[in-house]
Amino acid sequence: MKTIQYFIENLNYITDLTIQHLILIGIAIILALIIWVSVGIAIRNKDKTANTILSIGSLFMSIPSVALYGILVTIPFFGLRTRSAVFGLILYSMIPIVRNVYTALNEVDPSIIEAARGMGMSERQILKEVQLPLALPVIFAGVRVALVMMVGIATLAVFIGEQNLGQLIQQGISRTRTDMVITGAIMVSIIAIGIDLLIGYLKKKIVSPGLLLDDNQGGR
């Protein structure tokens, strides 16, 4: 009851924080996609480089978020607030995106690539028209993981001065206000579920029906 009351009384404040939260994730995922998809494509034929890159990604993943933010704020360019927050999220999304792009591109059936080459497609055309469309379902899975993770980790950016739903949780804990903590937690969950649904919808729109059919029939 208290939670609902809190929610109604602070609707504007909560809306603001939610928008802040979404903006932070939005910027982070756009930059992350540009960077990590390109990296995934660049390392697709280079097993050794790929191993190194993927180990670096796992390393980032293993640093606790609060510690990572703590390090980032000491770097002059990043400093407090948004730049550090965005950069931290980009680092965390490295592994799910790069790994899925790399694996998906390499798992394309070699006979399909051979047929494409045998018909006279250039390497660039093969990548754009064959490999990437075929890799899309797996890439989508990676982006989904990255986004849901971002929604959670973003709450910790409040420790470096970001204003988002994490604020409700952090302040609620320090002031032992359960209603605030619950409101924050519920809003974060709703965003996570919403993003999950959105990605599911986009996947249906973008991935070729030929591949989804394949999935329904139990793989290739």
């Binding site: 059936d109 006979s111 399909i112 690539i113 051979e114 047929a115 494409a116 080459r117 045998g118 018909m119 006279g120 497609m121 250039s122 055309q125 064959v130 469309p133 075929l134 991935v207 070729s208 029906p209 030929g210 591949l211 059919l213 394949d214 029939q217 290739r220």
Partner: protein
């Protein structure tokens, strides 16, 4: 049309060449089969023609032009390529798959659409039903047909086929082979075809090139390969049942008997029995008004059941087309424990019969032919 001159290929890190000084000429409109045990270099040779593999030395001329000096992608767009695993793009519809090379060549969409319909009709699939399907919705045989259609999309004069029918079940394979042979009669492509199956080679080839350890051992017509094997290797590879294999080369139409006695569905039971007696056989084939084959009735059943509607005595019989080889006819006879096989047209009209005995005679003939052919060799 295709001229390979002293081509060799040594893969990096290997001392023995995969293809060793191979020269081969493939004439226009001819199916040339590269055959040999695994690792003999047949696929490497094939892939050097469209430069998926670059030869270490030697020259390749296609239509008189040196293939090595051409842009490899442009070269490949003018050579149809069919592989064992087909490699259809699963994210594209049948129409989009077929449109791949036309799009690379910047055809306009109207021309592409027209060509897709034409090709699908050619390979016996209904364009309206098939066009918008995805590969996952097709059977193995249909996929293989689409693979061939895709390779023919821009009507390339040359087609390379790497074990194209190896991944389907035996019944579908025979069907695809027959379809492809009748298609080839219409399209007259220059085809280089790789297989490890000597029976397929004999059936499909105008010319067979037998390879072993990267070298061309013998290249000749199927008949000469069977009866004039150049050395022991070819003899072993062809197998000891050469005379049986000759049956692959003979069409049903060459030995079938025409003008056979038949009964029609309008005949009375007595007429039917009379006809059986006249023909001195224990059965008679039954056709309808339009000459379509219905089946056969045998004398015993006709006699014991003569009072009833005699048409209930008609039994269904396996049939064969006149284009099929004698080996197909023989296996169908044996499988169904029949001693005769009606030959029908595409419209199921009865045009003749093949008897087991005639096939046996043909085998005996070929034994004789073999000894005649071999005698001068002994000298």
């Amino acid at each position: 049309m295709i001229n390979l001159k002293d081509i060799s290929k040594t893969y990096p890190g290997e001392s023995k060449p995969a293809v060793d000084n191979l020269s081969l000429e493939i004439d226009e409109g001819e199916i040339c089969i590269l055959v040999g045990p695994s690792g003999c270099g047949k696929t490497t040779t094939l892939k050097m023609i469209n430069r998926l593999i670059e030869p270490s030395s030697g020259k390749i001329f296609i239509n008189g032009q040196d293939a090595i000096n051409q842009n490899p992608n442009k070269l490949r767009q003018d050579i149809g390529y069919v592989i064992q695993d087909i490699g259809l793009f699963p994210h594209m519809t049948v129409a989009e798959n077929i449109a791949t090379v036309p799009k690379l060549k910047d055809w306009d969409q109207a021309k592409i659409d027209e060509r897709i319909d034409e090709l699908l009709n050619l390979i016996g699939l209904n364009p309206a039903d098939t066009k918008d399907k995805y590969p996952a919705q097709l059977s193995g045989g249909q996929k293989q047909r689409i693979g061939v259609a895709r390779a023919m999309a821009v009507d390339p004069p040359i087609m390379l086929m790497d074990e194209p029918f190896a991944a389907v079940d035996p019944i579908t394979r025979t069907q695809l082979q027959n379809e492809f042979l009748s298609l080839q009669k219409k399209i007259q492509k220059t085809i280089c075809f790789v297989t490890h199956d000597i029976d397929e080679a004999i059936k499909m080839g105008d010319k067979i090139a037998i390879l072993n350890q990267g070298r061309l051992i013998q290249s000749d017509s199927p008949k000469n390969i069977l009866f004039n094997p150049k050395n022991e290797f070819v003899e072993d590879f062809v197998g000891s049942d050469r005379s049986l294999k000759v049956l692959n080369l003979i069409k049903v139409s060459e030995i079938m008997k025409k003008n056979i006695p038949t009964a029609t569905t309008q005949s009375s039971p007595k007429e039917v029995l009379d006809k059986i007696n006249d023909s001195r056989q224990s059965y008679i084939l039954v056709i309808d008004k339009g000459e379509k084959l219905i089946g056969y009735v045998n004398k015993k059943r006709m006699k014991s059941n003569s009072n009833k509607n005699w048409k209930e005595n008609i039994k269904y019989s396996q049939v064969i087309s006149s284009d099929a080889s004698l080996i197909d006819a023989l296996s169908r006879l044996i499988q169904n424990n029949q001693s005769i096989l009606p030959v029908t047209s595409d419209e199921n009209n009865l045009i003749g019969i093949v008897k087991l005995k005639d096939i046996q005679d043909k085998i005996a003939d070929s034994y004789q032919a073999e000894s005649e052919l071999e005698e001068p060799e002994v000298v």
